[in-house]
């Protein structure tokens, strides 16, 4: 029987009737249409389904939707502060070629954003550690790590302009 789920997704309060057997990933993708979050393995191994739950990265495939009741979720659709501007981490992924097929990218970006919130100047090893729950079958990881370090540097110096800004300038 469906139950009422109340949660905040990307700063918007939501009320949805969900089945107890739905995972948070199901609700995000199927009920809310937020398909940026991907379904990879469904068992906690690949990290494609990573979202922030109360600010911490978790595998949304391993959370029952009702376990998120009253909590705050941030998905890839909500990491940027406003709609026509990418988050600096997203911008660095684009600029440094850290995206190939893109399937792992939303999860990678969420893990990276969370790392830079708690550790604005990570070492390469710390970046690799923070991304160790996110698998990528395309890039070989190197460019992803470089993109996160690049974003860290730009966020540190305040130079986070995206291509849209450059065009305007």
């Amino acid at each position: 029987m469906k139950k009422l789920l109340e949660l905040t997704v990307n700063r918007v309060q939501r009320q949805i009737a969900v089945e107890p057997t739905e995972t948070l990933l199901d609700v995000l993708r199927e009920d809310l249409g937020l398909t940026g979050t991907k379904h990879g393995c469904g068992e906690g191994d690949c990290g494609a389904c990573t979202v922030l739950l109360d600010g911490q990265p978790v595998n949304s495939c391993l959370v029952l939707a009702l376990q998120a009741n009253g909590r705050e979720v941030t998905t890839i659709e909500g990491v940027a502060a406003d709609h026509d501007r990418l988050h600096p981490v997203q911008q660095s992924f684009v600029d440094l070629g850290a995206i190939q097929c893109g399937f792992c990218t939303p999860g990678m970006v969420i893990s990276a954003v969370s790392l830079l919130q708690s550790n604005p100047k990570p070492t390469e090893e710390e970046v690799r550690q923070a991304l160790s729950g996110n698998l990528c079958r395309c890039t070989g990881y190197q460019k992803i790590v470089e993109a996160v370090l690049d974003a860290a540097e730009k966020m540190g110096t305040g130079k986070t302009g995206n291509t849209a800004d450059k065009r305007r300038a």
Binding site: T23, E43, N69
Partner: protein, 293 residues
């Protein structure tokens, strides 16, 4: 959508949770869900009611009372890894929690869930055992305590009834000049289950004295985490150092009961028991001498 059919309850008090577990035959508690959700999806567990423990305040957090460190079963691996209490009182538990799974898993996976799920490779069980952790169990109208080395009965089996909950894990203060260490071998650094782990505790008579007391626990080489009496008998009363540690490490092989599986053969696991025992003892000894626990 999981291939299952169950109802969901998230009570705010321990009594409500215990009532729900007692009154509903197919009720199962859920903590972080990192083991249970997959077990449900695979049809290994078939609950009719899932009772979330997440909102029960008294099951959360790490506190120190009368010298004892008391860890709530809902405490996540991330919280244990960050805790200064755990770091200064039981380094082996910090080591186990810090490396388990992935960052995402550690943010959900709880200490209680790892213990109650009772996999032979559960990484936080051996640190609990070498430190003499005491499991506080509670059911409707009863409660009891069980030493952690008597908690596990077999893969997925503990002394708990299905309507019981693990309420807390209590760690009496370790004696002075004690050090602990957890070392593990996995096929990859991240997102991998332990092939073999060894956890050691050494207590010295004095900073440069003999070994007064010791404990070893071998992970993933038997149906439950195994204590290693033959190895320990090679340590007590001896001078700490490579020779003593080597004798204990060779004896530890006899204490282990490994099987072949896709992560490693039993022969490989025996070699691991020996080399990881050496490393765990060395590291525990260094901590004991350095005033760390």
């Amino acid at each position: 959508m999981l291939a299952a059919n169950f109802d969901f309850l998230e009570p705010e008090t321990l009594d409500e949770a215990l009532d729900a577990l007692f009154e509903n035959d197919g009720a199962i508690p859920i903590a972080g869900g990192t083991d249970l959700i997959r077990d449900i999806d695979l049809g290994k567990k078939k609950p009719t009611l899932v009772v979330s423990l997440a909102r029960i305040g008294e099951l959360q957090g790490i506190r120190v009372e009368a010298g004892e460190m008391i860890i709530g079963p809902l405490t996540t691996m991330s919280a244990i890894a960050k805790s200064s209490e755990v770091k200064t009182r039981l380094a082996a538990l910090k080591e186990a929690a810090s490396r388990m799974g992935t960052p995402q898993v550690r943010n959900r996976a709880t200490f209680g869930g790892n213990l109650c799920n009772a996999r032979p490779a559960a990484d936080t069980a051996p640190p609990a055992i070498v430190a003499g952790g005491i499991m506080e169990l509670i059911g409707k109208d009863r409660s009891k305590t069980v030493p952690s080395h008597k908690f596990f009965l077999g893969p997925g089996k503990t002394v708990m009834r299905s309507s019981d909950l693990l309420r807390a894990i209590r760690f009496p203060r370790l004696p002075p000049n004690t050090g602990t260490a957890f070392v593990t071998m996995t096929n990859r650094k991240s997102a991998e289950i332990t092939v073999t782990s060894v956890t050691a505790r050494i207590t010295l008579e004095s900073l440069d004295g003999k070994i007064k007391d010791a404990s070893l626990c071998l992970g993933a080489v038997g149906p439950v985490p195994l204590t290693a009496p033959k190895a320990v008998s090679q340590l007590i009363g001896k001078s700490p150092g490579p020779e003593t540690f080597k004798k204990a490490a060779i004896a530890a092989i006899e204490d282990s009961k490994p099987i072949d599986d896709f992560r490693g053969t039993s022969q490989f696991r025996k070699w691991l028991v020996q080399s990881l025992t050496m490393r765990a003892l060395r590291s525990a000894f260094e901590r004991a001498r350095g005033g760390e626990f």
